[in-house]
Amino acid sequence: MAVDEQVLYSVKNVKKYYPVKGGMLQRVKSHVKAVDGITLDIYKGETLGVVGESGCGKSTLGRTILGLESLTEGELVFNGNNISNHSSRQLKPFKKEMQMIFQDPYASLNPKQRIGDALEEALIIHTNLSAPKRREKVIRLLNEVGLKEEHYDRYPHEFSGGQRQRIGIARAISINPSFIVCDEPVSALDVSVQAQVIKLLKDLQEKHGLTYLFVSHDLGVVRHLCNRVLVMYLGQMVELAPVDKLYENPTHPYTEALLSAIPRPAVGRKRERVRLTGDLPSPSNPPAGCPFHTRCPIAKDHCTTEKPAWRQIDEGHFIACHER
């Protein structure tokens, strides 16, 4: 996988807060800080993994980056163009460049629409191909993701989970995007089928020079597929590093706990586990200071009041922690 250091997408201090309403008048009482200040550069041709616990803001980050959510704060610069305040009409040419693959492709397919027609839809919006040319292209796409021409006339319920994910992938690549957000694309699949889809994503990336933002809670899949990994906790960045550095030298206490918690499919090599106590705090009422201090095994007094700064500890390796 050739990754040059050319920045494709620059995400600057991006925040996405959702209002929480309550009381008789349904006034806004507080905010869920789903994404709370993310800054990063995504390089051309790379796969950037985003990991962290349920509710930490991975999907919201993906949707916000794709312009599917309004920004609460921050700046999005795609290929040198600041698109933060673009209208939907202005965004159209950029939307063609950015696509998304979902965890449950079934939910995003119309059950009454033939697969072929579903795949042609994006081509109608974004290209001016003639009907026969569109059909030709869709058949090529079906072949490319390992499906067959006869699948063109089938309906979504006639496909297995793995096949539906292939359809989701075909749809995402149909208009030749350069950037794809993959949101848990293999989480709902059986492991044997999951491995097939991972291979497909890798092959397509190589062939089309795609850049992926790969959201997942499966740290094994992330290691296998990603060049760099961002670890999030309660909407914030806690560690960012090239994949091998992160797995071999996890430095933030949360990353350490996360990696040591994965059950290894091998016997007799029991690892010492960093034991966390307590549950994930609520994102509408995040702890002051370091967001992780309520569960951190090495928290000190100042962690409860002072927010740790984001700093570089090694080439390309960043963390936010007072003690490491």
């Binding site: 491995a195 740290l219 290691r223 296998h224 706990a257 996360l258 290894r264 091998a266 549950d279």
Partner: protein, 335 residues
């Protein structure tokens, strides 16, 4: 054998459907010893939950056991009345269900749901049941257990709800606990806490456990012995070391090489082609043959017999027969 708690022999469970009776479990046999953890592993739809529900006498209304026997501490469960089964479930066998949210009743407090079985089955007074409930919540690591008793399920996190489920399941001091994917819906850090908890409790209470999972990592953490299921059949069985270090069935091998290894950046991912068949699919011979890279003539026509690799490891695959024929030597080929 005396220390065998549960013995399942040739279990066949079928579902009534528009296409007639369709088997979801096809002649499964296995046993669980005292103090042992048996893992049932396999992909979605292979029959893990239905096997467990058959044992518990809790099959969906269109499901029925059509063959085989289930012996628990010398009692034949398949011939028990629903009333007797209910008594057994409250006293000797407990189950933690796959979906914690649906298993706890949203309209009752945690306290109510944990007191109820104690009052019914152990005939404790409400006061005693309450005190015991607090003890149980404490045992499963829930902070401020007395306050939790008054809370409703939606006020707890997923991990905490699962702990409550475990506490309820343990309230009758079962000799056998069946846990159906108790950690699948949880984050890894919380999953690790629950696995540690189950391992600790099992030691403390000298309980037997059947753990159902599709995660080979979880199997390695918790199992003494493993059965691997595919399309309703047990296709391999063995001690946990045997399954991980010397898997014999092509499907077991395939499962192990389909999971990316977190500790190895160069892990060679080898998917299994195709996907799990539907219940109504007719497959002749070995049910794995359409996906098997080693399938040969015999596999298409004859359902494989079970061959023994060691006294504990048994494999349902024709390749083993060849191996026996070739002077018992181990085949060097891998997937």
């Amino acid at each position: 054998m005396k220390d065998t708690v549960l013995e399942v022999t040739n279990l066949v469970t079928k579902f009534k459907s528009a296409d007639g009776l369709l088997p979801a479990v096809r002649g499964a046999s296995f046993s669980v010893k005292k103090g042992e953890t048996l893992c049932i592993v396999g992909e979605s739809g292979c029959g893990k939950s239905i096997t467990a529900l058959s044992i518990m006498g809790l099959l969906p209304s269109n499901g029925l056991i059509t063959d085989g026997s289930i012996t628990f501490n010398d009692q034949n469960l398949a011939s028990m009345s629903p009333k007797e089964m209910q008594r057994l479930r409250g006293n000797d066998v407990s189950m933690i269900f796959q979906e914690p949210m649906t298993a706890l009743n949203p309209v009752f407090t945690v306290g109510f749901q944990i007191r109820e079985p104690l009052m019914i089955h152990q005939k404790l007074s409400k006061k005693k049941a309450h005190a015991r409930g607090i003890e149980l919540l404490k045992m499963v690591g829930i902070p401020s257990p007395a306050e939790r008793m008054n809370q409703y399920p939606h006020e707890l996190s997923g991990g905490m709800r699962q702990r409550v489920m475990i506490a309820i399941a343990l309230s009758c001091n079962p000799s056998l606990l069946i846990a159906d994917e108790p950690t699948t819906a949880l984050d890894v850090t919380i999953q690790a806490q629950i696995i540690d908890l189950l391992n600790d409790l099992k030691e403390q209470l000298d309980m037997s456990m059947i753990m159902i999972t599709h995660d080979m990592g979880v199997v390695a953490e918790i199992a003494d012995r493993v059965i691997v299921m595919y399309a309703g059949e047990v296709i391999e069985e063995g001690r946990v070391e045997e399954i991980f270090e010397n898997p014999q069935h092509p499907y077991t091998k395939g499962l192990l090489s389909s999971v990316p290894n977190v500790d190895d950046p160069d892990f060679d991912l080898k998917p299994i082609a195709g996907s799990m068949p539907m219940l109504n699919e007719q497959i002749s011979g070995c049910r794995f043959h359409p996906r098997c890279p080693h399938a040969f003539d015999k596999c298409f026509h004859e359902s494989p017999k079970t061959f023994s690799v060691t006294d504990k490891q048994h494999v349902r695959c024709w390749l083993q027969e060849e191996e026996v024929a070739q002077n018992g030597g181990r085949r060097a080929s891998s997937l």
